[in-house]
Amino acid sequence: MARRILLPTALAILALGLWISPDFQEIAAGVAIFLFGMLLLEQGFRLFSGGLLEQALEVSTNKLWKSLGFGIVSTTLMQSSSFVSVITISFLRAGLLPLAAGIGIVLGANIGTTTGAWLVAGFGLKVNIAAYAMPMLVFGVVLVFQSSRYLKGVGYAIAGVGFLFLGIHFMKEGFEAFHDQVDLQSLALAGALGLAVYALAGVAATVIMQSSHATMVLIITALAAGQITYENALALAIGANIGTTITAILGALSANFQGRRLAAAHLIFNTVTAVVAIALIGQLRIAVDAVSDFVGIAATDYALKLAVFHTIFNVLGVALMTPAIGRLIVFLERVIPPPMRDVSKPRFLNNAVIEFPATVIEALRNEVQRLYDHATEIIAHGLNLHRSRILSDADLAQVVADSRRVIDFDLDQRYEERVKGLYGAIVEFTTRTSQRLQGEQADGIYRLRNVGGKIVDAVKGVKHLRKNVNKLTTRDSGTSRDLYNGLRLRIAEIMREIHRLKHADAGERTTLWLDETLAQVESDRRDVDRRVDALIRDDKITVERATSFLNDSGYAYQVMRDLIDVARELYAAPMAGVAEVERLLSIGAERLDQLVAASPTPVAVHDKRARSA
């Protein structure tokens, strides 16, 4: 809402000012032309540097002094600390710069930007720069219309400097004419109040113009025209230093967490510097006078003395903050943490992968493994078990027996957040890539897609189990508790086995042993009816509870089969040839069933262990 009315209000006030005062019109036009010049200069640098700036940024990251030096030099050349800050943010966002180097560049830019005040105060006010502006504009515009990227860039830069000069000229003229009508000095405020009010005015002016450079030029020209006092000009300059952080803050709105950290560092640095400058304003004035005397600046040349002040207090700020950069980074990392990764989005599947068929299967396998990781967390919690305990070396029967508290989470919501979207992305990816691939590669794609489907089925199976697991495994004792603990234990054992398979040494890894695991599952499944019958006969379980358990065990055994199938595909031997042999030698479900049927029916081991635990 505030944003909506801000621009119309600002435009209305501006229109009123332009209508009332022709001199204000000249000053405002000067500021507008100056800002336009900065835009052109930035555009020119973008064009003719041809990535030179980016290359220089890359090599100036390994040392703090290099980052500082880069900030000073680049901002001096481009006369825009905002431009340097925005590029630094984009580099941080791309992960090409560490935060420490980014902060170093921004600190350097704060010193670099003070050269602008020197140029204006030392050159702009003493020479009729409008005379230089005109030919620059003419030559610049001619070059802008050339087809060569280099010439076009140079043209923009020259025209930009021309507009900068022209803007300064208009501001100077405007203030001089304004002085004849209104004496702004009558509004001057002395002491601490003046310092505070004018510092805030400096912040506001820079936020509006989004350029401390423009504000400084405005301050210097107003000071040279005698419209503001030297004391108030110092306060305005301090305020401009805080206001300039708005550009980085606006740039960081669309940036990632690193960009926001840099913007925060910039704000902290400039605010601390401003506070120190206000606190030491008396001492700084003495230092400015001393330096001015030393370099031969006249005692009444306040414009140049302001440039000296601007430089001294920014250098002081850098000197104060540089030793604290390490602590500042620690603080920023704590206050602005990296965002939680959107787990519903694929991490490995993208268009670049599709372009390179060799990477398709590997990327898809990584994504399906990620889906499996998400699913195992839901499966474990769905059974009121903690994955870390399942995957540890602890006695699993004891872990299951001890896990009698319901883990409070919404399984459906977790499924939607962590599994469904990701599986959808996998299906979409396989549909898009399968048209480009043939033969074994296409088969591999579909095998992995089916694995994704089995992972989804396993999660859904646990969802069916959860109601009775919550109700019955929280009891102190009882037959039903033992039966459900048996199912929980078996699923947990399979998850642990798969985890070990995943982390086995490359030479040791084999999926052949999963046949034995599957045989045990089939054996347990065959045995369950017989055991439940016996429990009903002995009045240890009601018929209703028994039928519920039979239904639930059906889901549980299917979860186990799905997990085993997933492991066969995801964690096959690393050598493709060996993995193919293992696939050929693995016994199909039908034959396994025959082998299980032919063997005696031992009491399900997990059931017994669950009871004893």
Binding site: P357, L437, Q438, G439, E440, Q441, A442, T510, L512, W513, D515, E516, A519, Q520, S523, M575, A576, G577, V578, A579, E580, V581, E582, L584, L585, S586, I587, R591, L592, L595, V596, A598, S599, P600, P602, V603, V605
Partner: protein, 86 residues
Amino acid sequence: MKLKRITRKLERFIGGKGGAKAPAIESEHVEEILQRLDSKRRKLEDRLALAENDQEGDRIRRKLSIVDEQRKRGDELLAIIRSDGG
């Protein structure tokens, strides 16, 4: 029947019919797996000798039957690869 199934699969793998070729199966790959199966069998036999009761014995015997089945398939596969000159 099993031999036919394996042969059919092998035709796809070794013959490389259409599309991208599947990973080539070398006899060394099969021999490596057979060695692992033999090692596993020896361990299971040792455990069977030390089995504390019939139930444990039954479970180990079932595992042995699975390993034997895998070994049999491996022998068949190796024979096919060797006869094919692989």
